[in-house]
């Protein structure tokens, strides 16, 4: 092969011929091996042309340039002029600022191998942080035949927006294809970083898909540059595969001529989720980047990666292209089924996976959808995947999704097969149809009037029934005495009265819960004795009027029971007083000594005989019978406590009786029910009352005697006034009336 060098001092005398054995690699020093003057030097501009006699592509050449004094080094590749197809050179990822924001100097070196003058011009298309682009024209530069010229573009970029940190560069020349080669670099001010921009012929592009290794250690940044080489907006996708996972930022749009930079390290460090909600674990340091253009047109995008070490002062560029753009592997709609409430929204999306031409699979990711549809628009509408629940029912949500398969025919030729597929899922728009409540273990519809009364302090479980299907997660929302979310809700009611429980999922359904009063022990309500006066000479009586209980029932739904509660029990003594058959000393006092003696003797005998005598008073009878009322009161009061306890243990099945009244009726009527308990209560009380003496020297007669003693004393006074003698005074001055229920109470277990 022949190697011709330009740009040395001294100049190369003539091209050097060397021979390479098969597969041999040889390193040649320009001054020593190619120019022949080891003490010469390489100028700041120059070029090397290699002509070989082997088959096209049989020889690969690289050139490494360094200037240790300035910290400069660069690796340049060679191009084959015979393979160029246009008079253009494009490069992506032209850095305008370093990673730390320091200014860089873009430099363009042009070598004209044409026999005549070549004029070169172009543009820099930079990208702002918001994704918009701007263009700076590179004025026309002449390069004489066989010469190499270097142009600084520092002045062109010095006034760019501060957030323009990178872009792309496009150059064109006016001599025949392949007669001009270019090299573009951005050089840091200290020379430590030389960002080489590989230039390529846009008419001779490889596929718009490729890959690159990724390193995400602290000082190693891998930036992927994707450049749109066309005048139309395009789509691309980029993936990062790492050990144990995959991250896909999704399908992105790239504007005409725009360069996009993707920094996976930043996405990882900021834990930015991708389309599918995944993030790159913070401990992931290495991976493999894959990118591809999306669409049916080939060779629309270029891409490469750049690995930068700020502290190591190293910049590497890497570009590896696949044989074809990626093909769609699978398409589906996500979710397959969803439920929302009326007037709510939910997102549907189309997902895809894709494979590169080496059958490596990537994804899933969110696919572009050309059309969304709903089969029942009165149930659900859809726009850009956002489904709105218009009415209760079911609708199919469809997505028309572009797909493309790339067939590789060899020789860098790929043919697309484009199609659109229809994928669908379903949405159930639900509302609350009704609320049920749990009786024991059975869910039951709540009657229109609500439920209750439920026992104060007990819990009721409610369940919202959807109009169809099932509720979306966390639906419905409960309010009123209930709170929180979910299909079922258990509420403990501790406030008496009419309470409300509502379930809301688009619509609201409420139910009333009547909560009974807090249970408390009651005392018997004693009414004043019902006194009947009879002028006859009969026997006064005191009888126990029937107890008049008033019940309520409350529901303990958890145990499926109506429980009896005593609201009130009225008790009373019926008294009949006979006012005849005796002489009342106050109305008809004795008129003689004999009558006075008889009167006081008879009245004293009331207590000692236990029998009403011929001298007596109605007041004494009233005192006697009222004492019986006192007895009956303390008797019944004593037996009431255990009776109430027994009554309030009575219960019937809630499910078997549809109203409080029906439950009470049943609880009363059962063989061992409330009526039986009350009868036992009455029997126990009467039995005990019967043990309280009502005869001579008993307390009831003592009560009457105390009244009569007043009359006896009056007659004694009358006798003294009339000088009657032998009239007895009070025989029993203070008869015992204490402790009416003086007998020991018998055991009672109602």
């Amino acid at each position: 092969m022949t190697i011709e060098v330009e740009g040395t001092a001294p100049s190369q005398h003539e091209p050097v011929n060397i021979a390479l054995a098969p597969w041999e690699t040889r390193v040649l020093d320009i001054m020593n091996d190619l120019v022949g003057h080891g003490n010469g030097y390489v100028k700041s501009e120059g070029g090397i042309s290699i002509t070989h006699s082997g088959a096209p592509g049989a020889v690969l050449a690289r050139m490494f340039i360094s200037e240790p004094g300035k910290g400069y080094s660069a690796a340049n590749s060679f191009i084959d002029p015979e393979t160029t197809a246009s008079q253009r050179w494009h490069g992506s990822g032209l850095r305008l600022k370093n990673l730390d924001g320091a200014k860089l100097e873009p430099v363009m070196t042009v070598r004209n191998t044409a026999p005549g003058l070549s004029r070169i011009q172009g543009r820099i298309i930079y990208t702002r942080s918001d994704g918009t682009t701007g263009t700076v024209d590179i004025p026309q530069k002449p390069v004489a035949a066989g010469k190499t010229k270097t142009f600084s573009m520092e002045n062109l970029v010095k006034n760019l927006p501060s957030d323009a940190t990178y872009g792309g560069i496009e150059l064109e020349y006016d001599t025949p294809n392949g007669t001009v080669v270019t090299s573009v670099q951005s050089i840091s001010q200290n020379g430590d970083h030389v960002f080489q921009v590989p230039m390529f012929d846009p008419q001779n592009m490889p596929s718009s898909a490729g890959g690159a290794p990724w390193k995400g250690e602290s000082d190693n940044r891998t930036i992927v540059y994707i450049k749109n080489e066309t005048d139309m907006s395009r789509n691309f996708i980029v993936h990062l595969k790492y050990d144990g996972g995959q991250y896909t930022p999704g399908i992105k749009e790239i504007k005409p001529r725009q360069t996009v930079a993707i920094d996976f390290q930043e996405l990882r460090d900021r834990q930015i989720p991708d389309d599918m909600g995944s993030v790159i674990p913070l401990d992931i340091m290495t991976g493999q980047i894959a990118w591809s253009a999306r669409g049916r047109e080939a060779k629309t995008l270029s891409g490469r990666s750049e690995q930068i070490s700020m502290y190591g002062g190293v910049v590497n560029t890497y570009s590896c292209f696949n044989c074809c753009e990626n093909s769609t592997a699978d398409t589906w709609i996500n979710p397959q089924a969803a439920a929302i409430v009326r007037e709510a929204e939910t997102w549907f999306m189309a997902n895809q996976t894709e494979t590169n031409c080496y059958q490596q699979q990537y994804g899933p990711f969110v696919a572009n959808v050309s059309m969304w549809s709903s089969t029942e628009t009165d149930v659900a509408t859809v726009s850009d995947g956002l489904v709105y629940g218009a009415g209760v029912g079911y609708s199919e949500i469809g997505a028309t999704v572009p797909t493309v398969l790339w067939f590789h025919w060899g020789g860098g030729y790929c043919e697309p097969w484009y199609d659109e597929v229809y994928r669908h899922g379903s949405v159930e728009v639900v509302g609350v149809e009704k609320i049920q409540y749990k009786v024991g273990s059975t869910w039951t519809d709540i009657p229109s009037g609500g439920i209750g009364p439920v026992c104060n302090g007990t819990s009721v479980s409610f369940k919202a029934i959807p109009t169809s299907g099932s509720f979306p997660s966390s639906q419905p929302t409960w309010s009123g005495d209930a709170s929180g979310n979910g299909v079922e809700k258990t509420v403990t009611f501790s406030t008496a009265g009419s309470r409300t429980v509502s379930a809301t999922a688009g619509n609201s359904v409420s139910t009333m819960v009547n909560v009974g009063p807090a249970n408390a022990n009651i005392t018997l309500t004693w009414l004043a004795p019902a006194v009947t006066t009879n002028t006859g000479s009969g026997q006064s009586t005191a009888s126990a009027a029937p107890f008049v209980p008033e019940y309520i029932a409350c529901a303990d739904l958890g145990t499926n029971e109506w429980k009896l509660r005593v609201k009130k029990v009225e008790a009373k003594t019926n008294i009949t007083i006979y006012t005849g058959g005796f002489r009342d000393p106050s109305a008809n006092p004795p008129i003689s000594q004999t009558e006075a003696i008889d009167a006081n003797t008879k009245m004293n005998a009331y207590y000692t005989s236990g029998v009403k005598q011929s001298w007596h008073t109605t007041a004494a009878s009233e005192a006697h019978e009222n004492y019986h009322n006192t007895e009956w009161t303390c008797t019944a009061n004593h037996y009431w406590g255990p009776t109430e306890t027994a009554l309030e243990l009575l219960k019937v099945s809630y499910a078997s009786y549809n109203s409080e009244a029906a439950a009470i009726t049943q609880i009363k009527a059962a063989a061992t029910g409330a009526d039986a308990k009350m009868a036992a209560f009455r029997t126990a009380s009467l039995t005990y009352w019967g043990t309280l003496a009502d005869n001579a020297a008993s307390r009831p007669y003592a009560a009457g005697q105390i009244v009569l003693n007043g009359h006896i004393s009056t007659i004694v006074t009358l006798a003294a006034t009339n000088n009657w003698t032998g009239v007895p005074g009070v025989a029993t001055a203070n008869p015992n009336v204490a402790n009416p229920c003086y007998q020991q109470f018998s055991a009672y277990n109602p």
Partner: protein, 175 residues
Amino acid sequence: MMKKPYFVAILVLVSMVIVFGTLAQIIVTKSDKPVLDLRAKLVNGTVYLNDKDIPIDVVFRNVGDKPVRLLGIFDDLAAQRIIFHLKMTDSKGTPIETLGGGKISLSQDSIKYFTLGKDETYTVRLNLKDFLLENYSLKSGSYDVTVIYFNQYGEDCFKGRLKSNPEKLTVAEIN
């Protein structure tokens, strides 16, 4: 003094003997054998809702070896409601509230007694309707009726509680 152990024994058996210890020989024995039997007998086993009266005979029988004196206050309704108490249940066993039970103040001229010799009987006719609550209406069906007699009054007479056999009452629709 010789009677003291005997008296203590009776005290344990029947409390009312405390007051009427002298009656112990008449109404109870050491073996607590009953001295009186009480039987209830509906005059008409089947009655109708529109019947004004539902007569029921209560029969005292001396089943002891000695005569038994009874306080004879059976003619007066007020007295009947004091000393008789009806226990009445419907066919389901549900008690029917009835009147009865209480206290009565005897007057000297109202106290009467009669004595039942061995195996002799005495019948008192009650009207069951007199023992029903004023606002209670019998419904058709069958009932069990038991009469309870309880007396704590009088001197030298039977004091205590007697319970009759249950008697089946059938109440039919209006004839």
